[in-house]
């Protein structure tokens, strides 16, 4: 079935009304879920991912632990109803395992695992709805869930997907666009600009890659702003609920304070 929709028409509009460099709507929900230490639900347009984090906790199997740091364990579960047609995936589905492995290796350098030797941090990613940008949403969700669990990170890791449509770079692709264009996903630590993941499974001309990559890194910084806002709002709510005595409401903007302080409640 050919694509009947134009990816980027002559006047610069994409199939869903966005322009080239516009990202889809992001909603972040950091409310607590069940017994999880930390959980986050993130939506990029129609892609919805729920990530829950347990840990650091006693490892299930002694043999799997490391003597000097915590072990990160990532499991991805893609719901059968997440795509247009219902598809049940087997337990050991290679694509899913690869996704989990990518997330794990993305977060290895970011989570300060050396603070928790002989423990395990479990990250469970549940994909509820898919419309492109799955890896991007999973990584963003994981960052927020880790923050919500209080696990120390070096930085808020932000991820964005991008593609190239005949020399024009596009950001934050939907399924329709991903099927048609060469695309990549980038995970960046915004403050230092360090990149922990670049994933590309299609073929892209090498001249286009540099521009696309830089653009994706810039877009990750925009998402960083969004994530910070959500974390602050949640922190604010928690602090208000904690009833810290007279003048409980913390005032003003956190902008003057040292950025590291943002992570702490």
């Amino acid at each position: 079935m050919g694509s009947r929709v134009e990816i980027l028409n002559d006047d610069g509009y994409r199939s869903d009304g966005r322009r080239q460099y516009e990202l889809r709507e992001i909603t972040i929900d950091l409310s607590q879920r069940g017994a999880a230490d930390g959980s986050a639900m993130i939506t990029h347009g129609l892609t919805q991912v729920l990530v829950t984090v347990f840990g650091p906790r006693e490892a299930k199997m002694r043999s799997h632990t490391l003597h000097d740091r915590a072990v990160l364990n990532v499991e991805v579960n893609i719901a059968p109803f997440s795509t247009g047609e219902r598809r049940r995936r087997t337990r050991g589905d290679k694509r899913v395992l690869e996704l989990a492995s990518a997330i794990k290796s993305t977060f290895e350098p970011v989570v300060q695992t050396s603070l928790y030797p002989r423990s395990q941090i479990d990250i469970y990613v549940h994909v509820l709805q898919q419309d492109g940008g799955l890896l991007q949403a999973s990584i963003n969700g994981t960052t927020l869930a880790l923050v919500s669990a209080g696990i120390p990170l070096l930085d808020l890791l932000c991820s964005v997907s991008g593609g190239v449509h005949s020399a024009s770079p596009l950001l934050d692709l939907t399924t329709l666009e991903e099927n048609d264009l060469p695309h990549l996903t980038v995970a960046v630590m915004p403050k230092s600009g360090k990149v922990t993941l670049v994933s590309m499974e299609t073929r892209l001309h090498v001249d286009r890659f540099g521009e696309m990559f830089r653009l994706a890194c810039d877009a990750a910084k925009v998402i960083h702003g969004e994530m910070k806002k959500a974390v602050k709002a949640r922190t604010q709510k928690l602090v208000n609920a904690m009833d810290v005595g007279p003048g409980a409401k913390l005032q003003g903007d956190f902008a003057d304070r040292d950025d590291e302080m943002d992570m702490m409640e």
Binding site: M1, E22, E25, L176, H205, V222
Partner: protein, 657 residues
Amino acid sequence: MVEITIRKRPRTEAVVTQRKFFKKTARGKVIKVIRERYLRSDVACGILSCNICSASSETNVPSHRTLPASGSVDHTLFSEGHFVLPDTNIFLAQMDLMESTLFTPPIIVLQTVMEEVRHRSLPLYNRLKALMKIDEKRVWVFYNEFHSETAVIRDEDESPNDRNDRAIRKATSWYNTHISLARPPVRGQEMPLPKVVLLSDDAANRQKAESEGLQCLSARRYVEGMPEASKTQLLDLIATPGEDIEPTRAVSGRQQLYPDYLPMSTLLAGVKAGQLHQGHFNANQYNYLEGSVPVPAFDKPVLLIGRENMNRAVQGDVVAVEIFPEDEWKAPADEVVDQEATLKNDDADDTDEEATDDEETRAEQRALRADAARRIAKEKQPTGRIVGIIKRNWKSYVCHIDSTSLTSSNATSLSQQTVFATPVSRLLPRIRMRTRQAPSLLGQKILVTIDRWDSSSRYPEGHFVRALGKVESKEAEQESLLLEFDVPYRPFGKAILDCLPPEGDSWVVPPKSDTHPDWRDREDLRDLIVCSIDPPGCQDIDDALHARRLPNGNIEAGVHIADVSRFVHPDTPMDNEAAARGTTVYLVDKRIDMLPALLGTNLCSLRPFVERLAFSVIWEMNSEAEIVDVRFTKSVIASKSAFTYEEAQIRKDDPCV
């Protein structure tokens, strides 16, 4: 440094902005598709110097693409200026009118209209896009589906067509309000405002528009109001269907376009009994709706008229034909009916989503009726229809991709597309195929094989085999010619090269001995003065001759040909390949050998100054050139010279020799 923003959507609008629909895949599975869209308020209206739009619009629009402030003032009905907003049916039926250079008013094309046209007919959509690029035409595309004020949601029980019509009307009324807002009354006086006129050939739409207070005209009425100079010519361009265009029919499932074949046993029984006739199907080069099958029972070939009677036969297939009674016999037509021209508006995609037959069947029937009138009764031929295929003779055909059938011509698009491949040979129908590499194959000659032709599909389906190279490049054209005429041109394989003598180039006739097999039964004619005469530069000398006077006064003349049978033995791979090739093919710059070059130009070539094995015929004749004796023998010769025609002629003419 580009600006990267996040497109926010207020929570309450979720219903408006998510489109949910069910789609049936090619395999028959039903899937739910959800698409979201983002509404914006910065979609420009396109009218020059519009205060509202230039304030909110981000991008700079080049001024030559915008519409003039008062539109066109030529029309008799709209003296204050007007813009034309055509409905979908105008573009579907009256494209020629729109493309005419005499049609000058500025045109506003809505996104809804464009998408509907694209959905109905891809070639017409491409023409529309080409129209937008023409400099003299002032066309503006307004994205009404993205604009928050003109976006429309489908009501319960509203058909998609009605929803689109409603969107078009809403956009028209928005435009009229927008223009009046952009030009507020000056000094309390209303300025004359240009109007946006809806053009539609659909009477129901026109009625609804009028009840909403919009200006709406049919194409004919509009043209009648145009200035005299262009009116008459434009009136001619208006297409004739007097009745209104039907809205898109709902999906009715795959239709049976061709009758089914009879089972093979029935066919064979019928042929044996004489009720059905068997023969090879020959398509008519000039009329794709006609074909013929020569059968032994009649001295004229059986004529097949019409797509259904030809029933999916392809040039070269062996078919079974049923003959109509004699009063239904027809004569062959002289009319040239070109498949490309008649079916040029047909889409490549499968017809499982839309019942598009109407347009194409009507076009074909018109073509048939037109030439039916011209057939002369006297030249009647047996006429019939194909009831079954006995043997398919499908092979790879050289084709090129029809550029109008591409849905996405973006050069880096990776999506799988269904396109038409038009064979170079006019005897073959267009082939539908799916490929991911469509954009890179445009402008190249490709090899396509046919896989099947279902009775519910207008075109045969096939797949891509390989690309031959750019169209009109020497290599591609040469290769395509060779493939078309079935000339094998691949290099010889290892099995064949192994059949050659192991000494290769250095093979020589072994010294004379009674025991050597090469010398068995061979006459030693190495002393004779043998020569050959061939074109200059000839490498493969296959014959040589000699003549001398005998002591008894007679003349002995002999012709010697290369003895290939010493090297090519029966039933070897080399023999089979040579039998398949049949001959050496000489092209202008190349030679495609029947036998490997070692034989053709060396060991089997009667070169001068070397000994070669040959087969000879030697005549003895008297001075009157009457043959006295003749004998044939295997021999060994040593050619003394290889003359060219010119050299031989000079020698012959030379009085001294």
